[in-house]
């Protein structure tokens, strides 16, 4: 139970109508000092200042949640503010310190359903504490587990599911056999009697070893499965905190220091991108790597990428121009992989082309292929280097720009996995044009 949230004695302060702190209890005063404020100066805690201003202007009482960024923790305050003669009385009745900007990582209730299958027995919900649970969402349940002690594979499981009856404490194992579970399922039906799927529980059987192989084929993804999440978490924290400092959300700051914070955020972003690249690199170099085949509209991709990177381009005084067909350009491929490739191409263009120039994204159909091109107005690439840039870790001698030398290698590999290709046309002094080609969707 959170017994620190509400205070038995409120922390009080009085703020003048013009926003100056007239008096304050010691805890409030400490917050004021930590936010670089003075004992009787303007109140320096942004959330409290806003609440006081509302009350001063409207003459009405308010109760609000205010988050204060202190030195080593965020503090959640419950603030009750009421008008007084020419002043605003602030009472802090709730005070809860917590780790800064930590997303929730709570477990679901232990006794409710933790497994849901749809009407086709595909997995909709899995106990998320099982490693690999996210990877099996959408998969057929019978391809992930099998009845224990029956060696026939998925058919008996499927047979059992097809009966659409309740199952109680059934002993099952992952396909690899390394994890054992107890399964209880209840069929779900709509009001008009249609079968909607199953809901129930999947619990690790007590006599098991570690339950780490619900998805059996990922054991060798050492970096992606084990290190990437560990690295990504602190990097995210660094980026978030540095951006908060840079944007001065927690109080005034000298320009030069705000600039240093931005440098820290940028450096951490580069590291984070490198982690993602290494994770992808590990995945695509595996023999069993595959991509999903969806129908994807390249015009949609072009517009999304332009939207996502417009801000980044404008930071570099650049524009992204989409010259896409008005009709959809439908190709076969995996949406997020195509998006990843085009994002990479446009990010490179923004990174290397000069400020004030334009990055163009074009789409079209060419025989049995659809294509999307990204063209910049940069310095171009020497003909002798044009194939080299698709090699792993190839940077063409560039350093310090945040690139890892993996983006184009990964992009071309991904394109080829989707039965397409990524090629370059470039002349020195006339910019660079990358063309991603993918098989057109056949009607």
């Amino acid at each position: 139970m959170n017994n620190t949230a509400f205070l038995s004695v409120p922390v009080e302060g009085l703020v003048s109508a013009s926003g100056n702190l007239l008096k304050a209890d010691s805890r409030l005063l400490q917050l004021q000092f930590n936010a670089a404020g003075d004992e009787h100066g303007p109140i320096a805690i942004p959330g409290l200042r806003a609440v006081a201003a509302i009350v001063a202007r409207t003459g009405m009482r308010v109760e609000r949640h205010v988050r204060v960024g202190d030195f080593d923790a965020d503090i959640d305050l419950w603030v009750e503010a009421m008008p007084q003669a020419d002043a605003v009385l602030i009472q802090i009745t709730g005070w809860h310190e917590r780790a800064p900007s930590e997303p929730l990582t709570v477990e679901p209730q232990s006794d409710g359903p933790n497994l849901v299958l749809n009407e086709h027995y595909h997995i909709v919900r899995m106990p998320h504490d099982l490693e690999g649970a996210d990877q099996v969402i959408g998969k057929h349940f019978a391809t992930v587990v099998e009845l224990r002690d029956i060696a026939v594979g998925e058919v008996p499981m499927l047979d059992l599911l097809a009966r659409r009856q309740s199952l109680e404490d059934l002993k099952i194992s992952s396909i690899s056999g390394s994890s054992q579970f107890s399964l209880s399922l209840c069929p779900l039906t709509s009001k008009d009697g249609h079968f909607l799927g199953y809901s129930g529980r999947l619990d690790t059987a007590p006599d098991n070893g570690p339950n780490e192989n619900v998805v059996s084929d990922n054991s060798s993804l050492v970096f992606g499965r084990q290190f990437a999440p560990i690295l990504r978490h602190p990097l995210s924290r660094i980026i978030a905190n540095a951006e908060t400092i840079h944007s001065r959300l927690r109080g005034p700051l000298r320009e030069s220091y705000a600039g240093y914070a931005q440098d820290i955020a940028n450096a951490a972003r580069h590291l984070s991108e490198l982690v993602s690249d290494l994770e992808d690199l590990e995945a695509i170099d595996r023999s069993d790597f595959s991509v999903a085949v969806d129908t994807v509209d390249l015009v949609d991709i072009a517009r999304r990428v332009a939207g996502l990177l417009a801000l980044k381009a404008s930071d570099n005084l650049m524009e992204i121009h989409v010259e896409a067909l008005s009709d959809p350009t439908l190709v076969n491929g995996e949406f997020r992989r195509i998006l990843q490739i085009v994002l990479n191409l446009v990010t490179n263009a923004i990174r290397y082309a000069p400020g004030g120039s334009t990055v163009s994204i074009m789409t079209g159909l060419d025989g049995r292929n659809g294509w999307i091109e990204v063209a910049d107005q940069g310095a171009g690439i020497e003909p002798t280097d044009q194939e080299r840039i698709f090699e792993k870790f190839e940077r063409l001698g560039r350093t310090g720009d945040g690139g890892s030398g993996l983006g184009l290698y990964i992009s071309r590999r991904l394109a080829r996995f989707m039965q397409g290709d990524l090629a370059i046309v470039s002349s020195v002094g006339q910019g660079t044009r990358f063309r991603l080609t993918l098989p057109a969707k056949t009607v």
């Binding site: 959170n2 409207t58 003459g59 009482r61 109760e63 419950w78 929730l104 709570v106 980026i239």
Partner: protein
């Protein structure tokens, strides 16, 4: 469709305002100049009206609503919580939820202080009458934002421990107000703004919001399906989630903030 509904909501808001204090504060003759000078198209009022419209729609389509009665969707564990403060707030929230069955009363009591003040200023300006000043003053003095559904849900969310907070990730289990208040608590995005980001179907903003709040894919799908029962399992959700899960949660929040501040709402 959305705009039509918004327009209807604003019209009903106007009617409710007129009906509430017809004898003193407002008369239909005041509304025409208010509309003409653009006061009734002010973005805060529109956002408020739009958010109420979406809230009502989400409430009506929430999975499990039939089993739980009309509006009272609170986890029983909160009503009987060992922390008396939480139990007391949960009961107060139930009472507030009952009260909003009366829409004309609800419009005043659910309004944030800033908006009520703005409206009262507009009316006083248009009316130029002492009677109106007195009535508006009484309305403002009697207003208690903290007793509104959103206000109570926020306070309840503030004092929840981590175990109780786990329940707020299911709108069907916690009810829409606590679900929203909890998202506001975690992300810092305002309650009404969250409603507008959720909108009328499962889109990128909602997916990003859940991602920013630290929902896992499974939790996000559960919450989305409870609010939008028609959501396709392998279609919209999969596509959207695969896109947003590549974005860092901190960046997701930045994007959402930029998105919502750039979105100018006009009727």
């Amino acid at each position: 469709m959305v705009r039509m509904k918004l327009f209807e909501t604003i019209l009903s808001l106007e009617k409710a305002l007129a009906g509430e204090n017809a004898s003193l504060i407002v008369h239909s003759r005041f509304w025409e100049p208010l509309v003409e000078n653009g006061s009734l198209r002010n973005p805060a009022l529109i956002e408020f009206a739009w958010a109420r419209c979406i809230e009502a729609e989400l409430q009506s389509q929430l999975v499990g609503k039939d089993m739980r009665g009309d509006l009272e969707q609170l986890p029983a564990s909160l009503l009987a919580h060992p922390d008396k403060k939480i139990a007391e707030l949960a009961r107060a929230l139930l009472v507030a939820q009952h009260k909003i069955h009366d829409p004309s009363a609800a419009l005043w009591s659910e309004m944030p202080v800033e908006l009520l003040f703005q409206i009262s200023q507009m009316m006083a300006y248009v009316a130029q009458s002492d009677d109106v000043d007195v009535a508006l003053n009484a309305l403002c003095v009697g207003h208690d934002e903290a007793q509104s559904v959103a206000g109570l849900a926020r306070k309840l969310s503030f004092c929840l421990d981590i175990e109780s907070r786990a329940q707020t990730r299911s709108p069907a289990l916690s009810g829409i107000p606590i679900f929203l208040a909890s998202l506001e608590y975690v992300t810092g995005i305002a309650y009404d703004r969250i409603l507008i980001l959720i909108g009328h179907n499962f889109g990128d903003p909602f997916a990003m919001l859940l991602r920013a709040a630290g929902f896992s894919k499974v939790e996000a799908f559960g919450a989305a399906r409870e609010i939008f029962p028609e959501l396709a399992i392998n279609g919209d959700f999969e596509n959207r989630w695969s896109r947003v899960e590549r974005i860092d949660p901190a960046d997701t929040l930045d994007l959402l903030s930029a998105w919502s501040s750039a979105e100018v709402i006009t009727p």
